[in-house]
Symmetry: C2
Subunit: 277 residues, 2 copies
DNA sequence: TATACTAATGACTGATTGGTCATTTGTCAA
DNA sequence: TTGACAAATGACCAATCAGTCATTAGTATA
Protein backbone atom coordinates (compact mmCIF):
# COMPACT_ATOMS: atom_id res chain seq x y z
CA UNK A 1 0.00 0.00 0.00
CA UNK A 2 1.37 3.38 -0.97
CA UNK A 3 1.88 6.05 1.65
CA UNK A 4 -0.88 8.11 0.08
CA UNK A 5 -3.33 5.25 0.43
CA UNK A 6 -2.25 4.61 3.99
CA UNK A 7 -2.89 8.22 4.91
CA UNK A 8 -6.22 8.29 3.10
CA UNK A 9 -7.51 5.22 4.87
CA UNK A 10 -6.35 6.39 8.26
CA UNK A 11 -7.88 9.79 7.67
CA UNK A 12 -11.16 8.36 6.39
CA UNK A 13 -11.65 6.41 9.58
CA UNK A 14 -11.08 9.46 11.75
CA UNK A 15 -13.14 11.76 9.53
CA UNK A 16 -16.08 9.37 9.73
CA UNK A 17 -15.90 9.40 13.51
CA UNK A 18 -15.20 13.07 14.14
CA UNK A 19 -15.74 15.06 10.98
CA UNK A 20 -13.23 17.04 8.98
CA UNK A 21 -12.71 19.99 11.29
CA UNK A 22 -12.46 18.03 14.50
CA UNK A 23 -9.76 15.75 13.10
CA UNK A 24 -6.27 17.21 13.19
CA UNK A 25 -3.41 16.35 10.86
CA UNK A 26 -1.50 15.28 13.98
CA UNK A 27 -4.20 12.74 14.79
CA UNK A 28 -4.15 11.40 11.26
CA UNK A 29 -0.36 10.95 11.21
CA UNK A 30 -0.37 9.29 14.63
CA UNK A 31 -3.11 6.93 13.51
CA UNK A 32 -1.19 6.14 10.34
CA UNK A 33 2.05 5.69 12.27
CA UNK A 34 3.99 8.33 10.37
CA UNK A 35 5.37 11.76 11.16
CA UNK A 36 3.71 15.05 10.41
CA UNK A 37 6.37 15.89 7.86
CA UNK A 38 5.73 12.68 5.98
CA UNK A 39 2.10 13.68 5.61
CA UNK A 40 3.07 16.85 3.80
CA UNK A 41 5.29 14.87 1.42
CA UNK A 42 2.15 13.11 0.18
CA UNK A 43 -0.37 15.94 0.39
CA UNK A 44 0.13 19.66 -0.04
CA UNK A 45 -2.50 20.45 2.58
CA UNK A 46 -5.31 18.98 4.63
CA UNK A 47 -7.78 20.31 2.07
CA UNK A 48 -6.00 18.43 -0.71
CA UNK A 49 -6.39 15.24 1.30
CA UNK A 50 -10.10 15.87 1.81
CA UNK A 51 -10.65 16.65 -1.86
CA UNK A 52 -8.67 13.58 -2.83
CA UNK A 53 -10.74 11.41 -0.51
CA UNK A 54 -14.03 12.71 -1.87
CA UNK A 55 -12.89 12.25 -5.47
CA UNK A 56 -11.55 8.76 -4.94
CA UNK A 57 -14.42 7.25 -3.02
CA UNK A 58 -17.15 9.16 -4.78
CA UNK A 59 -16.00 7.95 -8.16
CA UNK A 60 -15.69 4.41 -6.83
CA UNK A 61 -19.18 4.56 -5.32
CA UNK A 62 -20.74 6.03 -8.43
CA UNK A 63 -19.04 3.67 -10.86
CA UNK A 64 -20.04 0.69 -8.69
CA UNK A 65 -23.70 1.62 -8.92
CA UNK A 66 -23.51 2.76 -12.53
CA UNK A 67 -22.02 -0.54 -13.61
CA UNK A 68 -24.80 -2.52 -12.00
CA UNK A 69 -27.47 -0.35 -13.56
CA UNK A 70 -25.88 -0.36 -17.01
CA UNK A 71 -25.16 -4.10 -17.10
CA UNK A 72 -28.60 -5.16 -16.06
CA UNK A 73 -30.59 -5.96 -19.16
CA UNK A 74 -33.99 -7.00 -17.88
CA UNK A 75 -36.07 -4.21 -16.41
CA UNK A 76 -38.03 -6.31 -13.98
CA UNK A 77 -35.36 -6.52 -11.31
CA UNK A 78 -33.48 -3.34 -12.12
CA UNK A 79 -34.78 -1.28 -9.21
CA UNK A 80 -34.00 -4.08 -6.79
CA UNK A 81 -30.49 -4.45 -8.15
CA UNK A 82 -29.94 -0.73 -7.94
CA UNK A 83 -30.83 -0.57 -4.27
CA UNK A 84 -28.78 -3.68 -3.59
CA UNK A 85 -25.75 -2.13 -5.25
CA UNK A 86 -26.20 1.15 -3.41
CA UNK A 87 -26.56 -0.34 0.05
CA UNK A 88 -23.81 -2.89 -0.43
CA UNK A 89 -21.40 -0.19 -1.56
CA UNK A 90 -22.39 1.84 1.46
CA UNK A 91 -21.71 -1.12 3.70
CA UNK A 92 -18.39 -1.83 2.03
CA UNK A 93 -17.16 1.75 2.31
CA UNK A 94 -19.09 2.53 5.46
CA UNK A 95 -16.60 5.12 6.67
CA UNK A 96 -16.91 7.10 3.50
CA UNK A 97 -20.64 6.59 3.36
CA UNK A 98 -20.94 8.16 6.80
CA UNK A 99 -19.17 11.26 5.56
CA UNK A 100 -21.23 11.28 2.38
CA UNK A 101 -24.56 10.95 4.15
CA UNK A 102 -23.81 13.65 6.68
CA UNK A 103 -22.59 15.95 3.92
CA UNK A 104 -20.77 18.07 6.43
CA UNK A 105 -19.72 20.46 3.73
CA UNK A 106 -19.58 23.39 6.11
CA UNK A 107 -15.83 23.69 5.86
CA UNK A 108 -14.75 26.95 4.24
CA UNK A 109 -13.79 24.95 1.20
CA UNK A 110 -15.72 26.24 -1.77
CA UNK A 111 -14.12 23.71 -4.08
CA UNK A 112 -15.59 20.91 -2.02
CA UNK A 113 -19.12 22.26 -2.21
CA UNK A 114 -19.12 22.43 -6.00
CA UNK A 115 -17.47 19.01 -6.07
CA UNK A 116 -20.29 17.50 -4.03
CA UNK A 117 -22.83 19.29 -6.19
CA UNK A 118 -21.17 17.79 -9.25
CA UNK A 119 -21.27 14.24 -7.91
CA UNK A 120 -24.83 14.70 -6.76
CA UNK A 121 -25.74 15.50 -10.34
CA UNK A 122 -23.98 12.36 -11.57
CA UNK A 123 -26.06 10.32 -9.15
CA UNK A 124 -29.21 12.07 -10.34
CA UNK A 125 -28.35 11.09 -13.88
CA UNK A 126 -27.84 7.44 -12.99
CA UNK A 127 -31.20 7.31 -11.25
CA UNK A 128 -32.95 9.24 -14.00
CA UNK A 129 -31.46 7.00 -16.68
CA UNK A 130 -32.62 3.95 -14.80
CA UNK A 131 -36.15 5.25 -14.29
CA UNK A 132 -36.46 6.23 -17.95
CA UNK A 133 -35.29 2.80 -19.03
CA UNK A 134 -37.85 1.05 -16.87
CA UNK A 135 -40.83 3.32 -17.37
CA UNK A 136 -39.81 4.96 -20.65
CA UNK A 137 -42.46 7.61 -21.21
CA UNK A 138 -45.04 6.43 -18.69
CA UNK A 139 -43.78 8.57 -15.87
CA UNK A 140 -42.67 11.65 -17.74
CA UNK A 141 -44.73 13.82 -15.37
CA UNK A 142 -43.10 12.57 -12.20
CA UNK A 143 -39.64 11.48 -13.24
CA UNK A 144 -37.84 14.28 -11.41
CA UNK A 145 -39.92 13.80 -8.31
CA UNK A 146 -39.03 10.14 -8.43
CA UNK A 147 -35.32 10.96 -8.33
CA UNK A 148 -35.83 12.87 -5.12
CA UNK A 149 -37.93 10.09 -3.62
CA UNK A 150 -35.31 7.47 -4.44
CA UNK A 151 -32.61 9.65 -2.90
CA UNK A 152 -34.81 10.20 0.14
CA UNK A 153 -35.32 6.46 0.58
CA UNK A 154 -31.60 5.81 0.35
CA UNK A 155 -30.82 8.57 2.79
CA UNK A 156 -33.14 7.50 5.58
CA UNK A 157 -32.45 3.82 5.37
CA UNK A 158 -28.71 4.41 5.15
CA UNK A 159 -28.90 5.80 8.66
CA UNK A 160 -29.91 2.39 9.88
CA UNK A 161 -27.09 0.69 8.06
CA UNK A 162 -24.39 3.14 9.03
CA UNK A 163 -25.16 4.34 12.51
CA UNK A 164 -26.62 1.34 14.27
CA UNK A 165 -24.83 -1.88 14.94
CA UNK A 166 -27.68 -4.18 14.10
CA UNK A 167 -27.57 -6.98 11.55
CA UNK A 168 -29.81 -5.97 8.67
CA UNK A 169 -31.28 -7.91 5.77
CA UNK A 170 -30.34 -5.73 2.82
CA UNK A 171 -32.12 -8.09 0.46
CA UNK A 172 -35.48 -7.41 2.09
CA UNK A 173 -34.72 -3.72 2.28
CA UNK A 174 -33.95 -3.53 -1.43
CA UNK A 175 -37.10 -5.53 -2.22
CA UNK A 176 -39.16 -3.24 -0.08
CA UNK A 177 -37.76 -0.06 -1.64
CA UNK A 178 -38.09 -1.46 -5.16
CA UNK A 179 -41.75 -2.13 -4.42
CA UNK A 180 -42.26 1.37 -3.03
CA UNK A 181 -40.48 3.01 -5.95
CA UNK A 182 -42.53 1.03 -8.45
CA UNK A 183 -45.73 2.04 -6.64
CA UNK A 184 -44.82 5.70 -6.85
CA UNK A 185 -43.75 5.44 -10.47
CA UNK A 186 -46.96 3.79 -11.53
CA UNK A 187 -49.59 5.56 -9.44
CA UNK A 188 -48.24 8.91 -8.36
CA UNK A 189 -49.70 11.70 -10.47
CA UNK A 190 -48.94 15.04 -8.84
CA UNK A 191 -45.93 16.81 -10.32
CA UNK A 192 -43.92 19.03 -8.05
CA UNK A 193 -40.49 19.10 -9.64
CA UNK A 194 -41.16 20.23 -13.19
CA UNK A 195 -38.61 20.01 -15.95
CA UNK A 196 -38.07 23.73 -15.58
CA UNK A 197 -37.59 23.64 -11.80
CA UNK A 198 -35.19 20.73 -12.05
CA UNK A 199 -32.99 22.57 -14.51
CA UNK A 200 -33.11 25.82 -12.56
CA UNK A 201 -31.83 23.96 -9.53
CA UNK A 202 -29.12 22.05 -11.30
CA UNK A 203 -27.59 24.81 -13.37
CA UNK A 204 -24.37 25.57 -11.57
CA UNK A 205 -25.24 29.03 -10.34
CA UNK A 206 -21.95 30.70 -11.03
CA UNK A 207 -21.98 29.85 -14.72
CA UNK A 208 -25.06 31.97 -15.07
CA UNK A 209 -23.56 35.00 -13.42
CA UNK A 210 -22.26 37.29 -16.11
CA UNK A 211 -19.70 39.96 -15.37
CA UNK A 212 -22.40 42.60 -15.48
CA UNK A 213 -24.63 40.70 -13.07
CA UNK A 214 -21.72 40.22 -10.73
CA UNK A 215 -20.92 43.94 -10.81
CA UNK A 216 -24.51 44.64 -9.85
CA UNK A 217 -24.32 42.11 -7.06
CA UNK A 218 -21.18 43.81 -5.75
CA UNK A 219 -22.92 47.20 -5.85
CA UNK A 220 -25.76 45.76 -3.85
CA UNK A 221 -23.46 44.09 -1.35
CA UNK A 222 -21.62 47.37 -0.78
CA UNK A 223 -24.92 48.86 0.32
CA UNK A 224 -25.67 45.92 2.57
CA UNK A 225 -22.47 45.69 4.58
CA UNK A 226 -21.48 47.97 7.44
CA UNK A 227 -17.80 47.22 7.83
CA UNK A 228 -15.64 49.85 6.11
CA UNK A 229 -12.92 47.34 5.20
CA UNK A 230 -15.49 45.26 3.38
CA UNK A 231 -16.90 48.27 1.57
CA UNK A 232 -13.46 49.35 0.40
CA UNK A 233 -12.44 45.85 -0.62
CA UNK A 234 -15.60 45.43 -2.65
CA UNK A 235 -15.09 48.80 -4.32
CA UNK A 236 -11.49 48.05 -5.25
CA UNK A 237 -12.40 44.63 -6.60
CA UNK A 238 -15.21 46.13 -8.62
CA UNK A 239 -12.78 48.57 -10.25
CA UNK A 240 -10.31 45.75 -10.82
CA UNK A 241 -13.02 43.86 -12.69
CA UNK A 242 -13.73 46.85 -14.92
CA UNK A 243 -10.09 47.72 -15.54
CA UNK A 244 -7.31 45.58 -14.02
CA UNK A 245 -4.70 47.69 -12.28
CA UNK A 246 -3.88 45.98 -8.99
CA UNK A 247 -1.21 43.34 -8.44
CA UNK A 248 -2.36 39.73 -7.93
CA UNK A 249 -1.22 39.79 -4.32
CA UNK A 250 -3.40 42.80 -3.55
CA UNK A 251 -6.39 41.20 -5.27
CA UNK A 252 -5.87 38.02 -3.27
CA UNK A 253 -5.71 40.02 -0.08
CA UNK A 254 -8.92 41.86 -0.89
CA UNK A 255 -10.69 38.58 -1.55
CA UNK A 256 -9.38 37.29 1.76
CA UNK A 257 -10.95 40.32 3.44
CA UNK A 258 -14.30 39.23 2.03
CA UNK A 259 -13.81 35.62 3.00
CA UNK A 260 -13.34 36.66 6.60
CA UNK A 261 -16.93 37.75 6.67
CA UNK A 262 -19.45 34.92 6.24
CA UNK A 263 -22.02 37.05 4.44
CA UNK A 264 -19.48 37.81 1.73
CA UNK A 265 -18.13 34.33 1.09
CA UNK A 266 -20.48 33.63 -1.76
CA UNK A 267 -19.62 36.84 -3.58
CA UNK A 268 -15.92 36.35 -2.83
CA UNK A 269 -16.08 33.02 -4.59
CA UNK A 270 -17.76 34.52 -7.62
CA UNK A 271 -15.27 37.39 -7.83
CA UNK A 272 -12.38 34.98 -7.48
CA UNK A 273 -13.84 32.92 -10.29
CA UNK A 274 -14.28 35.96 -12.48
CA UNK A 275 -10.82 37.43 -11.91
CA UNK A 276 -9.23 34.01 -12.31
CA UNK A 277 -7.03 34.41 -9.27
CA UNK B 1 -35.25 41.32 23.00
CA UNK B 2 -33.12 39.95 25.80
CA UNK B 3 -29.35 39.67 25.42
CA UNK B 4 -29.66 35.90 25.40
CA UNK B 5 -32.08 36.01 22.49
CA UNK B 6 -29.91 38.49 20.61
CA UNK B 7 -26.91 36.16 20.93
CA UNK B 8 -28.94 33.11 19.98
CA UNK B 9 -30.27 34.70 16.82
CA UNK B 10 -26.89 36.05 15.79
CA UNK B 11 -25.30 32.69 16.44
CA UNK B 12 -28.00 30.77 14.60
CA UNK B 13 -27.40 32.77 11.45
CA UNK B 14 -23.67 32.13 11.52
CA UNK B 15 -24.05 28.47 12.49
CA UNK B 16 -26.36 27.90 9.54
CA UNK B 17 -23.80 29.39 7.19
CA UNK B 18 -20.62 27.90 8.60
CA UNK B 19 -21.43 25.16 11.06
CA UNK B 20 -20.69 25.00 14.76
CA UNK B 21 -16.95 24.42 14.69
CA UNK B 22 -16.17 26.96 12.01
CA UNK B 23 -18.00 29.73 13.85
CA UNK B 24 -15.99 31.36 16.63
CA UNK B 25 -17.41 33.06 19.70
CA UNK B 26 -15.61 36.19 18.52
CA UNK B 27 -17.57 36.13 15.26
CA UNK B 28 -20.84 35.68 17.13
CA UNK B 29 -20.19 38.59 19.45
CA UNK B 30 -19.10 40.87 16.60
CA UNK B 31 -22.21 39.93 14.65
CA UNK B 32 -24.37 40.62 17.70
CA UNK B 33 -22.58 43.90 18.38
CA UNK B 34 -21.45 42.98 21.88
CA UNK B 35 -18.17 42.16 23.55
CA UNK B 36 -16.78 38.75 24.20
CA UNK B 37 -17.16 39.18 27.92
CA UNK B 38 -20.85 39.97 27.54
CA UNK B 39 -21.31 36.67 25.77
CA UNK B 40 -20.01 34.78 28.78
CA UNK B 41 -22.39 36.66 31.05
CA UNK B 42 -25.27 35.06 29.17
CA UNK B 43 -23.80 31.63 28.43
CA UNK B 44 -21.32 29.59 30.42
CA UNK B 45 -19.74 28.20 27.27
CA UNK B 46 -20.14 27.85 23.53
CA UNK B 47 -21.53 24.35 24.08
CA UNK B 48 -24.21 25.72 26.38
CA UNK B 49 -25.25 28.11 23.62
CA UNK B 50 -25.43 25.29 21.08
CA UNK B 51 -27.43 23.08 23.41
CA UNK B 52 -29.74 25.97 24.21
CA UNK B 53 -30.28 26.69 20.53
CA UNK B 54 -31.11 23.08 19.74
CA UNK B 55 -33.51 22.82 22.67
CA UNK B 56 -35.27 26.08 21.93
CA UNK B 57 -35.82 25.68 18.21
CA UNK B 58 -36.34 21.94 18.26
CA UNK B 59 -39.12 22.23 20.80
CA UNK B 60 -40.66 25.08 18.84
CA UNK B 61 -40.47 23.11 15.60
CA UNK B 62 -41.88 19.96 17.16
CA UNK B 63 -44.70 21.68 18.99
CA UNK B 64 -45.65 23.57 15.81
CA UNK B 65 -46.09 20.34 13.91
CA UNK B 66 -47.60 18.45 16.82
CA UNK B 67 -50.27 21.11 17.29
CA UNK B 68 -51.34 20.92 13.66
CA UNK B 69 -51.53 17.15 13.74
CA UNK B 70 -53.38 17.00 17.07
CA UNK B 71 -55.88 19.73 16.21
CA UNK B 72 -56.86 18.33 12.87
CA UNK B 73 -59.97 16.26 13.29
CA UNK B 74 -60.74 14.96 9.84
CA UNK B 75 -58.35 12.34 8.55
CA UNK B 76 -58.74 13.11 4.89
CA UNK B 77 -56.46 16.12 4.82
CA UNK B 78 -54.24 15.25 7.75
CA UNK B 79 -51.23 14.14 5.73
CA UNK B 80 -51.42 17.26 3.63
CA UNK B 81 -51.66 19.49 6.70
CA UNK B 82 -48.74 17.70 8.30
CA UNK B 83 -46.45 18.33 5.34
CA UNK B 84 -47.67 21.91 5.09
CA UNK B 85 -46.87 22.50 8.75
CA UNK B 86 -43.46 20.87 8.44
CA UNK B 87 -42.34 22.80 5.38
CA UNK B 88 -43.73 26.11 6.56
CA UNK B 89 -41.94 25.76 9.89
CA UNK B 90 -38.77 24.96 8.00
CA UNK B 91 -39.22 28.04 5.88
CA UNK B 92 -39.96 30.21 8.90
CA UNK B 93 -36.94 29.00 10.85
CA UNK B 94 -34.79 28.32 7.82
CA UNK B 95 -31.52 28.98 9.60
CA UNK B 96 -32.28 26.40 12.23
CA UNK B 97 -33.70 24.02 9.66
CA UNK B 98 -30.41 24.13 7.81
CA UNK B 99 -28.58 23.04 10.92
CA UNK B 100 -31.21 20.42 11.66
CA UNK B 101 -31.14 18.93 8.18
CA UNK B 102 -27.36 18.73 8.02
CA UNK B 103 -27.26 17.14 11.48
CA UNK B 104 -23.65 18.09 11.80
CA UNK B 105 -23.45 16.35 15.14
CA UNK B 106 -19.79 15.57 14.76
CA UNK B 107 -18.74 17.95 17.48
CA UNK B 108 -17.22 16.18 20.46
CA UNK B 109 -20.37 16.96 22.38
CA UNK B 110 -21.90 13.73 23.59
CA UNK B 111 -24.80 15.55 25.20
CA UNK B 112 -25.81 16.96 21.84
CA UNK B 113 -25.88 13.59 20.13
CA UNK B 114 -28.25 12.08 22.69
CA UNK B 115 -30.30 15.28 22.55
CA UNK B 116 -30.76 14.97 18.80
CA UNK B 117 -31.56 11.29 19.20
CA UNK B 118 -34.21 12.24 21.75
CA UNK B 119 -35.87 14.81 19.51
CA UNK B 120 -35.71 12.43 16.58
CA UNK B 121 -37.73 9.99 18.63
CA UNK B 122 -40.29 12.68 19.42
CA UNK B 123 -40.70 13.33 15.71
CA UNK B 124 -41.07 9.62 15.06
CA UNK B 125 -43.87 9.50 17.60
CA UNK B 126 -45.73 12.40 16.01
CA UNK B 127 -45.55 10.73 12.60
CA UNK B 128 -46.45 7.33 13.98
CA UNK B 129 -49.40 8.73 15.89
CA UNK B 130 -50.64 10.46 12.76
CA UNK B 131 -50.30 7.37 10.60
CA UNK B 132 -52.08 5.20 13.15
CA UNK B 133 -54.91 7.70 13.38
CA UNK B 134 -55.43 7.74 9.62
CA UNK B 135 -54.90 4.09 8.83
CA UNK B 136 -55.62 2.60 12.27
CA UNK B 137 -54.78 -1.05 11.88
CA UNK B 138 -54.63 -1.26 8.10
CA UNK B 139 -50.96 -0.60 7.85
CA UNK B 140 -49.72 -2.39 10.95
CA UNK B 141 -47.18 -4.27 8.84
CA UNK B 142 -45.56 -1.21 7.35
CA UNK B 143 -46.10 1.53 9.93
CA UNK B 144 -42.46 1.78 10.93
CA UNK B 145 -41.29 1.75 7.33
CA UNK B 146 -43.73 4.55 6.65
CA UNK B 147 -42.12 6.70 9.33
CA UNK B 148 -38.80 6.37 7.57
CA UNK B 149 -40.33 7.12 4.19
CA UNK B 150 -42.02 10.25 5.49
CA UNK B 151 -38.77 11.42 7.05
CA UNK B 152 -36.98 10.64 3.81
CA UNK B 153 -39.46 12.70 1.80
CA UNK B 154 -39.10 15.64 4.15
CA UNK B 155 -35.33 15.43 4.09
CA UNK B 156 -34.86 15.46 0.33
CA UNK B 157 -37.43 18.09 -0.43
CA UNK B 158 -36.18 20.29 2.39
CA UNK B 159 -32.93 20.61 0.47
CA UNK B 160 -34.82 22.41 -2.27
CA UNK B 161 -36.48 24.76 0.15
CA UNK B 162 -33.40 25.54 2.21
CA UNK B 163 -30.47 25.55 -0.15
CA UNK B 164 -31.84 26.97 -3.38
CA UNK B 165 -33.20 30.43 -3.81
CA UNK B 166 -36.13 29.51 -6.00
CA UNK B 167 -39.75 30.32 -5.28
CA UNK B 168 -41.51 27.07 -4.48
CA UNK B 169 -45.17 26.14 -4.26
CA UNK B 170 -45.32 24.40 -0.91
CA UNK B 171 -48.99 23.69 -1.38
CA UNK B 172 -48.34 21.50 -4.41
CA UNK B 173 -45.38 19.88 -2.67
CA UNK B 174 -47.49 18.95 0.34
CA UNK B 175 -50.24 17.63 -1.93
CA UNK B 176 -47.75 15.59 -3.85
CA UNK B 177 -46.18 14.08 -0.75
CA UNK B 178 -49.54 13.40 0.85
CA UNK B 179 -50.49 11.50 -2.29
CA UNK B 180 -47.25 9.52 -2.24
CA UNK B 181 -47.53 8.72 1.45
CA UNK B 182 -51.10 7.54 1.01
CA UNK B 183 -50.05 5.35 -1.90
CA UNK B 184 -47.35 3.71 0.17
CA UNK B 185 -49.62 3.28 3.16
CA UNK B 186 -52.35 1.60 1.14
CA UNK B 187 -50.39 -0.55 -1.29
CA UNK B 188 -46.96 -1.21 0.12
CA UNK B 189 -46.76 -4.72 1.57
CA UNK B 190 -43.15 -5.59 2.23
CA UNK B 191 -42.06 -5.06 5.83
CA UNK B 192 -38.49 -4.14 6.46
CA UNK B 193 -38.59 -2.36 9.79
CA UNK B 194 -40.29 -4.81 12.10
CA UNK B 195 -41.58 -3.89 15.52
CA UNK B 196 -38.56 -5.62 17.00
CA UNK B 197 -36.03 -3.83 14.79
CA UNK B 198 -37.62 -0.48 15.49
CA UNK B 199 -37.36 -0.94 19.22
CA UNK B 200 -33.80 -2.26 19.04
CA UNK B 201 -32.79 0.88 17.22
CA UNK B 202 -34.57 3.29 19.48
CA UNK B 203 -33.52 1.93 22.84
CA UNK B 204 -30.88 4.38 24.01
CA UNK B 205 -27.86 2.12 23.71
CA UNK B 206 -26.17 3.04 26.95
CA UNK B 207 -29.14 2.05 29.05
CA UNK B 208 -28.67 -1.48 27.88
CA UNK B 209 -25.05 -1.68 28.89
CA UNK B 210 -24.85 -3.26 32.32
CA UNK B 211 -21.78 -2.85 34.48
CA UNK B 212 -20.72 -6.40 33.68
CA UNK B 213 -21.10 -5.84 29.93
CA UNK B 214 -19.12 -2.65 30.20
CA UNK B 215 -16.33 -4.43 32.07
CA UNK B 216 -16.17 -6.98 29.29
CA UNK B 217 -16.08 -4.21 26.69
CA UNK B 218 -13.17 -2.60 28.54
CA UNK B 219 -11.31 -5.92 28.63
CA UNK B 220 -11.78 -6.22 24.89
CA UNK B 221 -10.72 -2.65 24.24
CA UNK B 222 -7.52 -3.20 26.25
CA UNK B 223 -6.63 -5.98 23.82
CA UNK B 224 -7.44 -3.82 20.81
CA UNK B 225 -5.41 -0.72 21.62
CA UNK B 226 -1.67 -0.35 21.20
CA UNK B 227 -0.95 2.78 23.16
CA UNK B 228 0.36 1.99 26.66
CA UNK B 229 -1.26 5.06 28.19
CA UNK B 230 -4.65 3.91 26.94
CA UNK B 231 -4.07 0.38 28.21
CA UNK B 232 -3.14 1.62 31.65
CA UNK B 233 -6.01 4.12 31.78
CA UNK B 234 -8.50 1.43 30.85
CA UNK B 235 -7.08 -0.94 33.44
CA UNK B 236 -7.24 1.64 36.21
CA UNK B 237 -10.79 2.62 35.30
CA UNK B 238 -11.80 -1.01 35.24
CA UNK B 239 -10.50 -1.47 38.78
CA UNK B 240 -12.19 1.76 39.81
CA UNK B 241 -15.47 0.35 38.57
CA UNK B 242 -15.01 -2.82 40.60
CA UNK B 243 -13.82 -1.08 43.74
CA UNK B 244 -13.55 2.72 43.87
CA UNK B 245 -10.24 3.90 45.24
CA UNK B 246 -9.06 6.77 43.04
CA UNK B 247 -9.85 10.44 43.56
CA UNK B 248 -12.37 12.09 41.19
CA UNK B 249 -9.62 14.21 39.62
CA UNK B 250 -7.60 11.14 38.71
CA UNK B 251 -10.66 9.41 37.26
CA UNK B 252 -11.46 12.48 35.21
CA UNK B 253 -7.90 12.57 33.91
CA UNK B 254 -8.01 8.91 32.93
CA UNK B 255 -11.24 9.46 31.03
CA UNK B 256 -9.63 12.42 29.28
CA UNK B 257 -6.84 10.11 28.19
CA UNK B 258 -9.43 7.93 26.50
CA UNK B 259 -11.21 10.86 24.93
CA UNK B 260 -8.00 11.93 23.26
CA UNK B 261 -8.15 8.78 21.19
CA UNK B 262 -11.14 8.64 18.83
CA UNK B 263 -11.51 4.88 18.98
CA UNK B 264 -12.05 5.11 22.74
CA UNK B 265 -14.55 7.95 22.85
CA UNK B 266 -17.57 5.68 22.89
CA UNK B 267 -16.26 3.61 25.77
CA UNK B 268 -15.09 6.74 27.59
CA UNK B 269 -18.66 8.02 27.48
CA UNK B 270 -20.03 4.78 28.85
CA UNK B 271 -17.46 4.64 31.64
CA UNK B 272 -18.15 8.25 32.54
CA UNK B 273 -21.84 7.46 32.68
CA UNK B 274 -21.24 4.42 34.86
CA UNK B 275 -18.87 6.12 37.32
CA UNK B 276 -21.12 9.18 37.46
CA UNK B 277 -18.25 11.62 37.09
C1' DT C 1 -21.69 65.29 44.37
C1' DA C 2 -20.45 60.98 46.44
C1' DT C 3 -21.21 56.12 46.89
C1' DA C 4 -22.43 51.61 45.64
C1' DC C 5 -23.57 48.60 42.48
C1' DT C 6 -24.12 46.15 38.09
C1' DA C 7 -23.19 45.75 33.14
C1' DA C 8 -19.89 45.58 29.85
C1' DT C 9 -15.32 45.57 27.99
C1' DG C 10 -11.24 43.67 25.49
C1' DA C 11 -6.43 42.52 26.43
C1' DC C 12 -4.79 38.44 27.93
C1' DT C 13 -3.82 33.16 28.61
C1' DG C 14 -2.92 28.52 27.53
C1' DA C 15 -4.09 25.15 24.32
C1' DT C 16 -4.45 23.63 19.66
C1' DT C 17 -4.29 24.19 14.88
C1' DG C 18 -2.23 23.70 9.87
C1' DG C 19 1.90 24.05 7.93
C1' DT C 20 7.40 24.54 7.57
C1' DC C 21 12.13 23.29 7.53
C1' DA C 22 16.71 22.33 9.46
C1' DT C 23 18.19 18.05 10.76
C1' DT C 24 18.59 13.07 11.00
C1' DT C 25 18.09 8.41 9.16
C1' DG C 26 18.18 4.94 5.62
C1' DT C 27 19.75 3.21 1.25
C1' DC C 28 22.06 2.90 -2.49
C1' DA C 29 26.40 2.55 -5.81
C1' DA C 30 31.25 3.21 -6.06
C1' DT D 1 34.06 2.71 4.08
C1' DT D 2 32.62 6.55 1.82
C1' DG D 3 29.66 9.90 -0.23
C1' DA D 4 25.40 11.25 -2.48
C1' DC D 5 20.79 11.28 -2.46
C1' DA D 6 16.05 10.55 -0.95
C1' DA D 7 12.91 9.63 2.87
C1' DA D 8 11.41 10.79 7.10
C1' DT D 9 11.43 13.36 11.38
C1' DG D 10 9.56 16.47 15.03
C1' DA D 11 10.68 20.93 17.05
C1' DC D 12 9.02 24.99 15.76
C1' DC D 13 5.97 29.01 13.97
C1' DA D 14 2.15 32.10 13.35
C1' DA D 15 -2.65 32.03 13.65
C1' DT D 16 -6.70 31.02 15.92
C1' DC D 17 -9.48 29.23 19.42
C1' DA D 18 -12.48 29.16 23.96
C1' DG D 19 -12.54 31.16 28.03
C1' DT D 20 -10.89 34.63 32.02
C1' DC D 21 -10.54 38.73 34.65
C1' DA D 22 -8.79 43.27 35.98
C1' DT D 23 -10.64 47.37 34.57
C1' DT D 24 -14.02 50.83 33.04
C1' DA D 25 -18.67 52.79 31.96
C1' DG D 26 -23.19 53.45 33.21
C1' DT D 27 -26.84 54.03 36.48
C1' DA D 28 -29.44 54.50 40.52
C1' DT D 29 -29.71 55.93 45.35
C1' DA D 30 -28.53 58.90 49.24
Amino acid sequence: MSKKQLIMESALELFAQQGFDATSVQQITEHAGISKGAFYLSFKSKDELINGLIDHFMLSLISDIDQVVKNHETHTELLYEFYQAAFHTFQKHSDFAKIFIKEQSKTPNEELISKIHHYDKLIDNIILGMLDRIYSEENSQTRYDLIYCVKGFIHTYSHLILFFNVPLDLHTLSRSLAEKTALLAKHSETTFITEELYHTINEPFHVHVTKEQLLEMIEQKIEEVDDSTLKESLNLLKEQMIEPSLSPAIVKGLILNLNNHPACKQIAYLIQDCLEV
